[in-house]
Structures are given as C-alpha cells and as structure tokens.
C-alpha cells in the first residue's frame, strides 16, 4: 500500500518531527541501543498510525510539537510490540529486513523492546494529557492481552475461532491501536466528545479493514515482498477470515483441523489447502468484508467538517482495501 504524495505533503513537516523524536536518545549515552533504534526506525513501514494521529489533530489548531510527540509515541509503541512479537515467533525477517532477534541475543532484544515501551510512554506524556496517557496504556494492555490469549489457546485441542473471536483478536492486534491513534489525536486537538468518538469509530473500522486485508494478503503469497511464506498464519495454526469462510462449506476440513490443533501440516498439505481456499471464493468474501469495514470508516467521517484532512482520512480507508485479488 502506498500513501499518495498528496497525503504525505499534508503532514510532511510533522512526519520529519516524528522521525526525529523516535531517533532522539534520552538518558545516558548508549550507542548500541541508539543504533538499534535507528535501525528499527529505518526499517519501519508506511507510518500509517502516525499519519492518522497527525490528521486527527488537524481539525482544530493543535500544538505541533505535542502532535509529533503523540504520533512518535504511537509508532514507537507499535515498533516495540513488533520487536517482542518477532522474538516470540522467531521471525527472522520483517518487511524484507532482518529482525532485531535475528541479529541480537534474546536478552538484548527483550530489553530493547522494553526500552521502547518506556520511551513511548514518555513521548505520550509529552502531550501533558493524563487522558491520553490512560488511553495509551490501556491500548497496550489490550494488545498484549490479545497476544497472550492467542498464545494460551495454543493447545493441541484448539478449535477454530468463532467469527466473533476472530473479530476480537484482530481488534486487539490491530484495530485497537488505530482507534486509539485517531481518538488520542482528537483529544489532543480538544475536539468535542462526539467528534472524538467519531474519530475512534473511524480508526476502529480502518484497523479492522486493514487487518482483514493483511489476512487476505497472507494467502496471496508474495513471499519476496512480505518476507514470509504463503499462509504463514495457517502454518502457525492461526485461523483467519478467509479460512473461516472456507470452513463454512468445508466443515472439519482435515488439514485445517490439523493446523488449528498446532499439529503442523506438511508443506504439500499447506499448498493443497491454500489452492482450495483460493479457488473457493473465500478470499473474495473476505475482501468484501474488508471493504465493508472501510466503508464504515468513511461513513464515520461524515460528521466531521469536509476539509482536506477528512478527505485524506477517507483516502486512507479506500486505499487500505484497494487491491484486486
């Protein structure tokens, strides 16, 4: 997904501030840690969460330094969770670059993540808003709790989740931080409560659309781009929306049951079931759902003033799901 130059231009100056804040090393000098953080910032993604924060702050004049601190806090938090996730999953690449755990000891990787959590809390506090710090801390609790739930469900008797459980999981994993990003931007901009809620709704649905799309792309198998094999989630026993749709017409499909029970299907089995899922129309059904979420995100925006910031937020929602499958 590429955010157009137009949106980047809207927040370009702020994004420079965000990058600088993320790289800023506070406390005693520790070159190795500073290098690691530079590396992680360099290897970062599209800065979608900071862009959402920044756009949300633009609906009323807002202190640019504080907005940049909040956006940096969100991206730093997101990066810290990825650092720990990659270690836990023993992932060696992310976005085509080696992960920190591929280069460093587990101990150094854990502590670098911890440092980034504390730095992100410190950046959130630079907004001078206790309410923002509370939303921030609660969101991290939601994210981590979701990951723990998933880990604890890893028993050999694990059944596929219900659709509701799937939605809960992707809320915790992705939508909670998008929703919090938009909401905290609105809080910082001192918007009326109804608009803060509107921004939360937008971020929630954008995040849901984004994660469903991610779960579809996992079946598209662009290994070079994603840096992981096709159906990576299924290999790990994580059942996503395309599989849930597929199961409706193929209940108790043996390979999927084997995967869900963490019994590690063979490579041939994975390839066979991926082909079946692709041919079943389940990816298209999941895409329809992603587009419904994106539509709801845009619908939420309708109560905001129709300006270039609202248009940019709408564009992000469209773009999140603008991909043929």
């Amino acid at each position: 997904m590429i955010i157009t130059a137009g949106i980047h231009d809207l927040v370009a100056e702020d994004l420079h501030r965000v990058e600088a804040k993320m790289r800023q090393f506070v406390g005693d000098s520790n070159e190795t840690l500073a290098e690691a953080i530079d590396y992680l910032v360099d290897a970062g993604g599209k800065r979608l969460r900071p862009i959402v924060v920044l756009l949300a702050t633009r609906f009323q004049p807002t202190d640019a330094e504080k907005a940049a601190s909040l956006a940096a806090a969100v991206e730093m938090l997101h990066t810290a969770t990825l650092v720990h996730d990659d270690l836990i999953d023993n992932a060696l690449f992310r976005r085509g670059s080696p992960t920190l755990n591929a280069k460093w000891s587990p101990g150094a990787t854990i502590l670098t993540g911890d440092y980034m959590f504390s730095r992100s809390a410190s950046l959130a506090a630079e907004t001078e808003s206790v309410r923002i710090v509370k939303v921030f801390a609660t969101t991290l609790m939601t994210i981590v709790n979701g990951e723990l739930q998933q880990l604890f469900n890893n028993g050999h008797d694990a059944a596929p989740p219900t659709l509701e459980e799937y939605h809960q999981r992707i809320f915790a994993k992705t939508a909670s931080l998008f929703a919090a990003s938009a909401k905290m931007g609105g809080i910082l901009a001192k918007l009326p409560e109804a608009r803060i809620q509107t921004l939360y709704d937008y971020g929630y649905h954008l995040g849901m659309a984004f994660q469903v799309m991610d779960d579809i792309l996992d079946f598209q198998g662009d290994e070079a781009r994603l840096g992981k094999p096709v159906a990576n989630d299924l290999r790990q026993g994580i059942i996503t929306l395309p599989v849930l749709h597929f199961l409706e017409n193929h209940p108790d499909h043996p390979i999927i049951m084997k995967a869900a029970a963490r019994l590690h299907p063979t490579e041939d089995e994975i390839r066979a079931v991926v082909a079946e899922i692709r041919e079943s129309g389940s990816l298209q059904r999941a895409l329809d759902e992603a587009r419904r979420f994106a539509m709801q995100a845009k619908k939420a925006l309708q109560s905001l003033p129709d300006n270039q910031y609202r248009q940019a937020l709408a564009y992000i929602a469209d773009y999140a799901v603008a991909r043929d499958i």
Copy 2:
C-alpha cells in the same frame, strides 16, 4: 530484612489497597494471565518501594486512592522488570519460589512482563499527574538502559568496572526506582520543590545502600534463603563493590579477570576466590560504604518535619544495613 510491625501498621490499610490494585485485572477476562499476576504478587518481597511511596505521601494530606495507585504502579513496574530479568538470566527461582519462566514459555513470560509494564503505566496515570507519569517512564528508561549497558559489556575483553561505573550501574538497577518512589510520593502530596528534592535524595541514598548490601549478601552464601548460589554475580561476570575493594590489593587477580571476561571460572576457582574475598576485609569495607549511604539517606530527612513518617523512613534506612557480616 524485616520491616517492623510498627511501620507496617502506619501504612497497613494502604498496603491492602496496593495489593488489591496489583491483583485487579483490567480489560477482557484472561484467567491464565490473572493467575500469573496473582502468583507473582504472592511471591513478592517486602513491598519496600510501595512503603517508601506511601510514607512520602504522608507529609501532607493526600488522596489515599491515588497514593495506593502510585505505590502499586511502582511495585508492578519493579515486578515486571524482575520477570524479564529472570527470563534473560534463565533464573529458575526467586525468593525461594519458581520464576515465571521456570513454569511458562519464553513468549508467555515476555508478554506477561509487557502486560505488567502497561498496567503499571495505567496505575501511574491514575494519579492524574503528568509529572508523575514522566518520572515513572524516565525511571523505566534508566533501569532498562542500565541492564542493556551491562549486557553489551559482556564481551570477552570486559575489564572490571571503575568505582564510578559500579555506582552508575547500581543507581540504574536499584537506586533510581527508590529515588523516584520517594520523589513521586512527594509530588503526589504536593510538597514544596525543596522537599521533593529531599525525598529524592533520601530515596537515592537508601537505594544505593540497599544495593551495596545486596551485593555483600551475595558473598554470604545463604543459598537456601536467596535461592541462588554464593557469588552469583561473580559467576556471571558481574563485578560488585566487595570485588572492587579486593582488587585494589590484588590487581589482575586471575580468577576475577577470568570471571570479568565471562570465561566462566570453575566451581573450585569460585570457592577459592570467595574465601579470599571474605578473609580480605573487603566485605567489611563494602559494609562501611553501605552504612555511609544509609547515613546520607537519614541526613537528607533532617529537613523534613520530625514526625512518625520521617522516623519510619529513617528506620528503613537503618534497617537496610543492620546486619553483621
């Protein structure tokens, strides 16, 4: 170290609140995580840091709920750092109880620590003071940064630290959180800045005394009580104050150089050098330094009103170093 009943009585009601807040599970129900947190709270220590927080809040009337939240935040943060430390060190026991990593997978242990970090930030935010959240986040940065420094120094060419480096290390490891505990208590109680600084000085010196004492006890070898072998630090190549004193008269002592270079002395070598250190008077010299720190902690208190809370803080400083060797 036993805190007398007198001090516990002073803050008993608050300590009950602190325990309840630590166990309170926020967010979606997750029984396994709640059990883990209960287990860690049960296995907790003397609650010295929460007691310091609570006593510091007593110099002016302070909201008891907020004081308990702050004290719980500090203890939760401390516990979270221990959860990650024990995983990194592969420690199987702490205070005689199995560590979380001895029972759980590394992934679940990392995430439980992360959850506790986020919960501790959320508790700190319950004080409604951005200044407290900032001190809190900065202190975690100091602690983690100190651990990373130690880890990065783990090369095979590692020389023993200077005395200054030792002091920096134990500040990051222990004194920073004691100092922050006393300071944040003073901030919550809305004390004048000079008194907040006084409390910081008290906490700093108490923490330094406490860690030097801990480093001495590591040579006392009460394996059953400490749950780790004698000279555990030296075995890991960590050079503490008794060793630094010993090195003054035994420069380049081969076993210590071997340990400092992480070349793992044999059990016989460790026992031999421990006996040498014990006979050298270096433990006594380190104890003298611990007592000087405790004295400075008490001296800092002199500018506070002479009431039972000040007496309790002074008692804690005395007790921290009241042990013959």
